[in-house]
């Protein structure tokens, strides 16, 4: 099958990790490629490439999306948060601290997506149960940890008494 290339591009304005960015993108450009190739934000990863694994998860206006299947055009005018934006001033986010402290990081390929998904969960439900965490993470696969330490790390941040244990 021969794909007819579309030559046109459109200008989009997005706020990435708090910084406004203007760039021209082709209509078929995926947010993941724009982040990784154009903006050199390599934290979001490409794995399954079909919205199953969550390695490419970023937050768009606070909502987790799979950047591998999300058109860059759709991000126009919206706020995108990637893992690089989680600790802008160098001080780690409580989730990042908890992932380290609980040993929830192994190969690290899922970590960016896990952290952002967990962030969205905590925004929605600041004190989730273990069941809720596991359920919310169903779209974030990890092949290394077996999930227990990830769930524990998220729970540690969800305790009402506060962040980061």
């Amino acid at each position: 099958m021969h794909v007819i290339p579309i030559q046109s591009s459109s200008r989009i304005r997005i706020t990435v990790n708090g910084h406004p960015v203007e760039l021209d993108v082709r209509p078929e450009a995926l947010l993941l490629d724009v982040l990784r190739e154009r903006l050199q934000l390599k934290g979001a990863k490409r794995s399954c490439d079909m919205q199953v694994c969550g390695a490419c998860t970023v937050l768009v206006d606070g909502e987790p999306v799979s950047a591998c299947t999300f058109l860059a055009l759709e991000a126009d005018g919206r706020e995108v948060l990637t893992v690089e934006g989680l600790a802008p001033e160098g001080a780690l986010d409580p989730l990042q601290e908890a992932f380290i402290a609980h040993g929830a990081v192994q190969c690290g390929f899922c970590t960016s997506g896990m952290l952002l998904t967990a962030r969205a969960l905590l925004a929605e439900d600041p004190a989730p149960t273990a069941e809720r965490v596991a359920q919310y993470l169903r779209g974030s696969l990890c092949r290394c940890t077996g999930y227990r330490k990830i769930v524990e790390a998220v729970l540690a941040c969800g305790r009402p008494a506060g962040a980061g244990r």
């Binding site: 794995s47 690290g108 359920q135």
Partner: protein, 772 residues
């Protein structure tokens, strides 16, 4: 001896870069001027290429190279660690759906993909063998016509193909008089068990970037678990000295065995050569499904016991489905089969296995390395035997465990763990002595695995003028935390803070030789080399200090980055300054761990025995057939946890990966096509599948050959999962399932079949039912 760093759950040295998104993997690397590659793969499981026209593809603007097998006349185009049976690109015949036929390098991936659309290929389909049964049938179509050449491993020098069949290697082992012992046994149990083809799904698919220099040398950045094996393959293919091939390994996004031995590296290298510029070849997950997988297997085992439950004899025959190319599968089958008798004392043994080609994705190394397939059968049969003997399954196992120091097989390493302690800890963790709640049942299983031998690991430790330390090893960091562990070992020996130790990334032109990051061997083998190298440096420091103080070395010791003794304290920088007469220079320590060839059955004695036992508590939804693993306990004998949290993390991950192939994972083929070669169709464990209670425990008697008495772990925890769950299912329902995965459908069908049988007055609890 009190330890400062070893034995503590220090934070991973790579945790910060990983939680901030700064960690760099192969797919994050960009080499200036690099082109991007794509592969055209065979749509057929077995076919002759009758016409291949790439002329139009070559004229597409932006295309740098279009390669077919016909272009690879300048190098040796076949490779493989055990058998050189695999062409870089298909030479006239394709042997599985996904076999690479054409490779393209272009300015970007989209252009490369467009070029592939312009390639014209006509195939003439050939009869394919998609299952073990078909491949082993008399007169079966042959996957390979010619007998392939041997690869480069001495332990596989005796590869025994059976000409005229699809069997590319056989393994045989016998001791005692198994036939007579089985004939005389009071109780024998026997059955066949099936293990499916499993995909590793490391979240990072394979990748390689190749660049040739002006002098004809080759540099590769590769997501590989064993850069030195890849180097050996490439050196042979390209006629280059090893010193002219440089392989640099960034962080890996998981490996699990799937990144051992050459995968995409030869393709990236020939593309870069043809393109005249660096080339990056990144696999997709769909590509990974067509690159390597776990060998499926059909295992028939027979166990004979005396009246008192003593295991007298084991006979085991296994056919392993190794797919279209042998990869490392010949070693998988012999190592997996060799430990068929597990942690038990068995006087009479007969083992035989075949590595069988089929027209499917090549089978290779995968966590457990042939052991899970065999243990699935043998440990299921242990429970069948317990029932026949009227014995408690834990008790029957305990009776037959090998003792500490007892020989596993003549010539091999004596048992280095206290197996009864592992079993006792398991029973305790699982609350075996208490009856489970109604609707629940428990099952256990055990395994013992040999690590690869002979084997070599080398380390260099450098103490810099300021007292900081660099550790040079080629251990690949793929998530297991090896770099952290190596830093801990060096910091412990040299009495410096962990933060003062850096561990270099593997680079074959810089870091010293290491055979492979696999086989659960790194902590034991590389860790020991790091310990020796650090002790070498420490010895030099002590001698310098002794000379300076005029005191005997025996009175001196390292403490807080200084040599102390006799009332004096000499910090390392001061000692080095004194030694070199300037602020500069460094002390270099060397560690070499190389247990060589022995008379053991596999040609080398295992450096340690990996021992793992596991137990599951399950419930069952009889309406749907869905098994819930409510609790799982795993016990590993690791000698010494260098980093307890990372030990736990490895073990928990292993158990969950084991639950995957126990409950849902299976690569399914129909009409020669892989039906579920992506993450939509192939179900791996999710967070929701985590048992409510998952507990890892460790036996630490300091009796391992590794540093501080450590032994390896990482694979073991996965192995007992399937039989433990199936044994629990049998205890809950009386159903003995012999084919993995234990999907709801399979369990439901077995339940229904039994109900039908019961209505006819046939089967009862304890009977064996299986589907086909």
């Amino acid at each position: 001896m009190s330890r400062r760093v070893v034995g503590r759950s220090v934070r991973r040295t790579d945790a910060l870069e990983k939680v901030t998104g700064r960690a760099r993997y192969l797919s994050d690397l960009e080499v200036p001027g690099m082109a991007h590659a794509r592969l055209l793969r065979s749509p057929h499981p077995h076919a002759r290429i009758v016409r291949l026209d790439v002329a139009r593809a070559r004229t597409l603007p932006g295309v740098h190279a279009v390669l077919t097998a016909a272009d690879l006349t300048w190098c040796e185009p076949f490779y493989g660690p055990a058998l050189r049976d695999r062409p870089i690109l298909a030479t006239g015949v394709v042997r599985y759906e996904g076999d690479p036929v054409v490779a393209v390098a272009a300015v970007d991936e989209a252009t490369a993909a467009e070029a592939l659309d312009l390639v014209e290929v006509d195939y003439e389909e050939l009869p394919a063998v998609m299952t073990l049964e078909a491949a082993l049938a008399p007169g079966a179509p042959l996957v390979h016509q010619a007998e392939p050449l041997a690869g480069h491993f001495s332990d596989l020098a005796s590869l025994r193909a059976r000409p005229g069949t699809n069997i590319c290697h056989q393994f045989d082992y016998e001791r005692g008089q198994p036939a007579a012992a089985l004939a005389a046994a009071a109780v024998t149990v026997e059955d066949s068990y099936a293990f499916p083809r499993i995909q590793h799904y490391s979240m990072e698919p394979h990748g390689a970037i190749a660049a040739w220099d002006a002098e004809g040398g080759l540099t590769l950045w590769a997501s590989t678990q064993n850069p030195f094996s890849v180097r050996a393959e490439l050196a042979a293919m390209f006629g280059l000295p090893a010193s002219r091939i440089r392989i640099i390994v960034p962080l890996l996004g998981g490996g699990f065995g799937g990144k051992t031995y050459a995968k995409l590296e030869p393709l990236a290298a020939v593309l870069a050569r043809a393109a005249g510029r660096p080339v990056r070849l990144l696999a997709s997950v769909e590509d990974a499904f067509r690159t390597v997988r776990r060998c499926g297997a059909r295992v028939r085992a027979r166990l004979g016991f005396d009246r008192d439950g003593a295991l007298l004899a084991v006979e085991c025959h296994a056919d392993f489905d190794v797919g279209a190319y042998a990869d490392i599968a010949p070693r998988v089958i012999q190592k997996g089969t060799y430990t068929a008798t597990g942690p038990y004392r068995v006087p009479h043994v007969r083992l035989h296995s075949n590595a069988v080609y089929t027209n499917t994705t090549p089978g290779g190394a995968f966590r457990g390395f042939g052991v899970p397939q065999i243990v699935w059968a043998v440990e299921s049969l242990m429970d069948v035997a317990a029932e026949r003997l009227g014995r408690d399954p834990v008790d029957l196992r305990r009776q037959n465990l090998l003792a500490h120091g007892e020989e596993y097989a003549p010539g091999d390493t004596p048992v280095d763990g206290k197996l009864e302690e592992s079993l006792a800890r398991l029973a305790e963790a699982l609350r075996w002595a208490q009856a489970p709640a109604p609707g629940r049942a428990r099952g256990v299983a055990a395994m013992m695995k040999a690590s690869v031998a002979p084997s070599v690991s080398e380390a260099i430790v450098r103490l810099h003028a300021d007292g900081s330390v660099s550790v040079l090893v080629s251990t690949v960091e793929m998530g297991q935390g090896a770099r952290t562990v190596m830093a801990q070992i060096a910091a412990e020996v040299l009495a410096v803070p962990l933060q003062r130790v850096s561990v270099a990334a593997p680079d074959t032109s810089v870091t010293p030789y290491d055979q492979t990051t696999s086989s659960s061997r790194s902590t034991t083998m590389v860790g020991r080399a790091v310990q020796e190298a650090a002790e070498d440096v420490l010895g030099q420091l002590l001698r310098i200090a002794a000379g300076r103080l005029g005191a005997p070395v025996a009175q001196l010791r390292a403490e807080e980055a200084a040599i102390v003794g006799g009332g004096a304290r000499l910090p390392y920088p001061e000692l080095l300054d004194h030694h070199f007469g300037m602020r500069g220079g460094e002390l270099i320590g060397r560690g070499v761990v190389a247990p060589g060839r022995t008379a053991a059955p596999l040609g080398g004695s295992t450096p340690f025995w990996e021992v793992a036992m596991g137990g599951a508590e399950i419930s069952l939804d009889e309406e749907t057939g869905a098994i819930s693993v409510e609790a799982y306990a795993s016990v590993s004998d690791v000698g010494c946890c260098i980093n307890p949290q990372q030990c736990e993390a490895q073990d928990e991950g292993a158990v969950m990966q084991g639950l995957g192939h126990t409950l849902f994972e299976e690569m399914v083929y129909a009409d020669g096509q892989l039906l579920n070669g992506d993450l939509v169709g192939y179900r791996v464990p999710r967070a929701e599948d985590l048992p409510a209670r998952l507990e890892s425990r460790f036996v630490e008697n300091g009796d391992g050959a590794g540093p501080f008495g450590a032994k390896g772990l990482g694979e073991g925890g996965l192995v007992p999962v399937s039989p433990a769950v199936a044994n629990a299912l049998a205890r809950l329902t009386g159903l003995r399932l012999r084919e993995l995965p234990l999907t709801p459908e399979r369990v439901w069908r077995a339940l229904r079949q039994r109900r039908a049988g019961a209505a006819g007055g046939g089967l009862h609890r304890g009977s064996e039912v299986t589907d086909v």
